[in-house]
């Protein structure tokens, strides 16, 4: 329909066609009006007017007016038409026709005007099209260059779309020409809503900001600009690059908030670290990998007063005390070679010329590849520590001095020794010129020992007239401490100094301690001398007594020797000659006479036995005691076997407990058992069957028999030599046996006792000292 209208309007028509259309439109519209007259009434001009408009649009004003005239004619003629009836035309009809004519004429004009205007429009369009085609033709003629540029533009756009930076372009009026995808994302607007709008309208916050300043500057100077700026509405930092282009700018930017924050926090942590290091160490410095100072250190300059020029390279060493330099330099070289920690103490010269002890430390800072980028070092003031150490040394020295004096007390062989040790230490410790010790004996003999600064290890001894001597020459300050001594002696420790304040509270305390020690030492020395003199006397006495005893012993030995030798010889004579007499005169002697001779010989024999037993007893006392492990059970058994062999007619049951052991002298123990078992054997002689038991009870060995026994009333005499409780005729013996056992037991450090009753047997108990 629309195209039909456009066709209708655009096409120019010939005069005849327009006239024909005008007549046809008039005829059709009139005819239709007549047809519809009865339904729509005579006042309705819709149909005829439509015809007029159509005609005008098709054929212009002329055609429209033609249709109008023909329609008016139709109106005039209408009342005479066969359809409307036959009535004469009325004035009213003419009025209607007139109105119609006026309206139709107007519409014709309007339609024609519409038609003309469209025509002109179309004409212009066609001309433009023509011109475009002209241009295209010329463009095509320009060829590949243009095509290439177009392709390049397309690629550029593609690149811009793909790049990670946001980008937009503005024209000379600050209107958005282009926004890339990242730009849309960052700015939060689709490009459709941005393109064509002014930057200031979309982002009013940019007005008056650094952004605006840089943009304008870029345009004015035609120079690219680059900057990082915070954009408050986005709460973000942007890194922006601006490029002026012909009649506008291109802007590239990216959000650098996160890296910038990281960098910021890195800077802050670095600053914190630096202030921490500075809080611990007074000086912080860096050197090159080769160990040369190349970077300035303000803290070093402040601490030492060196300039950067002075400290550069190895110049820093000159800030050290000269005698610390060589050692420090070699340690530094050593650390560099080792690529390890550097740590050294030295003294640094301060701007005021004094020296401060410092602890210097450094460590290599490595690159990612492990090579050394630089060395970073600190110096820490250790004055306080050094002072504490010095104080500690002072204490240690003081303690050592007191220990030395203690040792001197123990070791001092003389008063001189003691005085030297105490005075040397004390003088050095307190740092005074002179130290002396005065001791006044009860007889007013005064000794003074002095150690002075001129000869610190030399002890000078004098004997001044009195203890209350004048103070030493030229030493106005002194400290005197009395010594508490016994035995009527008096003493004092005197220190003298040229300086006031030498004897402060600490010095006094030390001196007091030493004075107390010295007093003890002097006293101890005196007591020891007394003790030694007592001991000497005692020793003499002991020596005298020992000599006496040795003499007595020798005499005893000589006695027993002569007993052994000389006492027996006559007995042999008695016995021998009596025997010869017996042989000679046996026939002439009466029975009684022969009996007497026999008794004399028996007596001589018993005496020989007595002498032998006595000698044995004395030998037991003299032989050394040699303890060893002794199997007591088998020892007793072997003694019993001997007894049985010697006297095979006797019936004696001997019971020996197994496993008896002792640490004893087996030879002596054997003698003891010989006597004890011998006794038991002897005193059970009157039993039909004797019973002997050997055992151990409550830690004591015992030998028990069921023989004659004895009255305990006489038990006290039992162990004395030659004491006998029985008749020798009944039970022969010398009375030495138990005395021998007693001596053996005693030599072992043990004890011997007995339990017995007459005819009830006897039990002898003994212990052996250390016996287990």
């Amino acid at each position: 329909m629309r195209d039909a209208v456009r066709q209708l309007l655009a096409t120019p028509h010939s005069w005849t066609a327009r006239f024909t259309v005008a007549v046809l439109a008039a005829l059709v519209s009139t005819g239709l009006s007549v047809l519809f007259e009865p339904w729509v009434g005579g006042h309705f001009f819709v149909v005829p007017l439509s015809g007029v408009i159509l005609s005008a649009l098709y054929g212009g004003v002329g055609a429209g007016l033609t249709t109008t005239v023909l329609n008016v004619a139709g109106f005039v003629l209408l009342p005479y038409s066969p359809v409307a009836g036959t009535r004469p035309p009325l004035t009213e009809d003419f009025l209607r026709a007139l109105v119609f004519a006026v309206v139709a004429a107007l519409l014709s004009w309007v339609g024609a005007a519409l038609r003309d205007s469209y025509r002109r429009n179309e004409q212009a369009r066609l001309e433009a099209e023509h011109a475009r085609l002209e241009v295209e033709r010329t463009s095509a003629a320009r060829g590949a260059a243009d095509e290439a540029r177009r392709v390049a533009d397309a690629r550029l756009i593609e690149v811009l779309e793909r790049m990670s930076d946001a980008s937009f372009a503005l024209d000379g009026e600050w209107r958005f020409l282009y926004v890339n995808r990242e730009g849309e994302r960052v700015m939060g607007f689709p490009r459709e809503s941005l393109v064509g709008r002014r930057l200031w309208d979309v982002f009013p916050a940019v007005v008056g900001s650094a952004f605006e300043r840089y943009y304008r500057q870029a345009i004015e100077t035609q120079q690219p600009a680059e900057f990082v700026e915070f954009y408050p509405p986005f709460q973000a930092w942007f890194e922006v690059r601006v490029f002026p282009v012909q009649d506008g700018i291109s802007v590239f930017f990216r959000d650098v908030t996160a890296p910038r924050r990281a960098q910021q926090s890195l800077r802050e942590s670095e600053a914190r670290f630096r202030s921490l290091v500075l809080a611990i160490a007074q000086v912080v410095w860096t050197t090159s990998a080769a160990g040369l100072i190349e970077e300035d250190s303000a803290s070093w300059r402040t601490f030492t007063g060196q300039t950067f020029e002075e400290m550069k390279g190895h110049g820093w060493l000159n800030a050290l005390r000269p005698d610390d330099r060589a050692r420090t330099a070699s340690l530094w070289q050593e650390a560099l070679a080792r690529r390890g920690l550097y740590e050294v103490e030295y003294r640094m010269r301060r701007p005021d010329g004094t020296y401060t002890p410092v602890l210097a430390r450094a460590a290599p800072v490595l690159n990612a590849d492990g090579s050394i980028r630089e060395w970073m070092g600190t110096n820490t003031d250790i004055t306080a520590r050094k002072q504490a150490e010095a104080q500690l040394r002072g204490y240690a020295e003081r303690l050592e001095a007191l220990h030395a004096i203690d040792r001197a007390i123990l070791q001092a062989v003389s008063l001189q020794d003691l005085a030297r040790t105490a005075l040397c230490f004390l003088r050095r410790l307190i740092g005074c010129e002179e130290a002396s010790l005065l001791i006044a004996e009860p007889g007013e003999e005064v000794s003074r020992w002095t150690v002075s600064a001129e000869a610190p290890e030399t002890l000078r001894q004098e004997h001044p007239r009195s203890a209350g001597d004048a103070p030493p020459r030229g030493l106005p300050h002194f400290l005197e401490l009395p010594l508490t001594l016994g035995g009527g002696r008096r003493g004092a420790l005197r220190l003298a100094s040229t300086r006031e304040g030498s004897f402060d509270a600490m010095a006094t305390q030390v001196a007091e301690e030493v004075a107390a020690q010295v007093a003890i030492a002097v006293e101890q020395g005196r007591l020891r001398r007394e003790l030694e003199s007592h001991a000497g006397v005692l020793e003499e006495q002991v020596a005298a007594r020992t000599a006496e005893l040795q003499e007595a012993n020798a005499q005893l030995e000589a006695f027993s020797y002569s007993v052994s030798h000389d006492l027996r010889a006559p007995l042999r004579g008695i016995d021998g000659f009596l025997r010869l007499v017996e042989e000679d005169v046996a026939g002439t002697l009466s029975e009684r006479g022969r009996g007497y001779l026999a008794r004399v010989r028996a007596a001589a024999g018993r005496m020989g036995q007595l002498i032998d037993d006595l000698l044995k007893l004395s030998r037991l006392s003299r032989a050394p005691l040699e303890r060893g492990d002794v199997d007591v059970s088998s020892l007793a058994a072997s003694v019993a076997d001997e007894l049985r062999a010697r006297d095979p007619t006797r019936v004696v049951e001997v019971g020996i407990a197994p496993g008896l052991r002792a640490r004893a002298d087996s030879r002596l123990l054997r003698v003891a058992f010989e006597n004890l078992l011998g006794n038991a054997w002897k005193f059970t002689a009157r039993r039909e069957t004797g019973h002997i038991q050997v055992g151990k009870f409550d830690g004591a060995f015992f030998v028990r028999d069921d023989g004659a026994g004895f009255d305990m009333a006489y038990s006290g005499k039992l162990f004395a030599p030659f004491q006998r409780l029985h008749d020798a005729a009944e039970y022969p013996g010398t009375g030495i046996g138990l005395a021998t056992v007693q001596r053996i037991v005693r030599r072992h450090g043990g004890r011997l006792w007995t339990e017995a009753a007459v005819d009830q047997g006897a039990t002898f108990y003994f212990t052996l000292g250390d016996s287990p």
Binding site: S564, H565, R568, L571, R572, G573, G576, L578, L580, G608
Partner: protein, 151 residues
């Protein structure tokens, strides 16, 4: 007497012991000649041909010396020592015959190379028995060095 059985030198200061010993030798029917020395000096004189025995042929040495220890002048130990120190008497057998049973006498005797150590019993019968055994053993059973056999 019979040189074949040689001599026995009895060194004893106690006259009783000398007599009893001689009786014992007699009863033991020893063929050897018994020479008695009353003290150490006399014993050494005999052995080395000095003093009262000057001129004695010291190549003739006793088959055995019965030596008491407890002697006047020169003790038995010294006699023994001197004998062992002299090549002429070094090999002469010496039996220490004494009353002593002291350990130090025993030790001293053996250290000086006594050949035997016998204790004189008190009982006469035993004494005779001991003397007899000694005489028989040393003068008949025991073979001395060559000089005793030299004829």
């Amino acid at each position: 007497m019979n040189a074949r059985y040689g001599t026995v030198l009895l060194v004893e200061d106690n006259a009783d012991d000398v007599d009893l010993s001689l009786i014992a030798f007699e009863r033991a029917a020893l063929s050897a000649q018994v020479v008695v020395a009353r003290d150490g000096v006399e014993a050494l004189d005999y052995l080395f041909g000095t003093g009262a025995y000057a001129g004695r042929d010291v190549r003739e040495q006793p088959r055995v010396v019965l030596l008491d220890l407890n002697l006047p002048k020169v003790s038995g130990h010294e006699v023994l020592q001197r004998m062992r120190a002299d090549p002429r008497t070094r090999e002469v057998p010496v039996v220490v015959l004494t009353s002593s049973l002291e350990e130090r006498d025993l030790r001293e005797s053996y250290r000086n190379f006594a050949n035997s150590y016998v204790r004189k019993p008190v009982n006469f019968d035993e004494f005779i028995e001991v003397t007899k055994q000694l005489g028989v053993y040393w003068t008949t059973l025991n073979r001395a060095m060559a000089q005793g056999e030299v004829v």
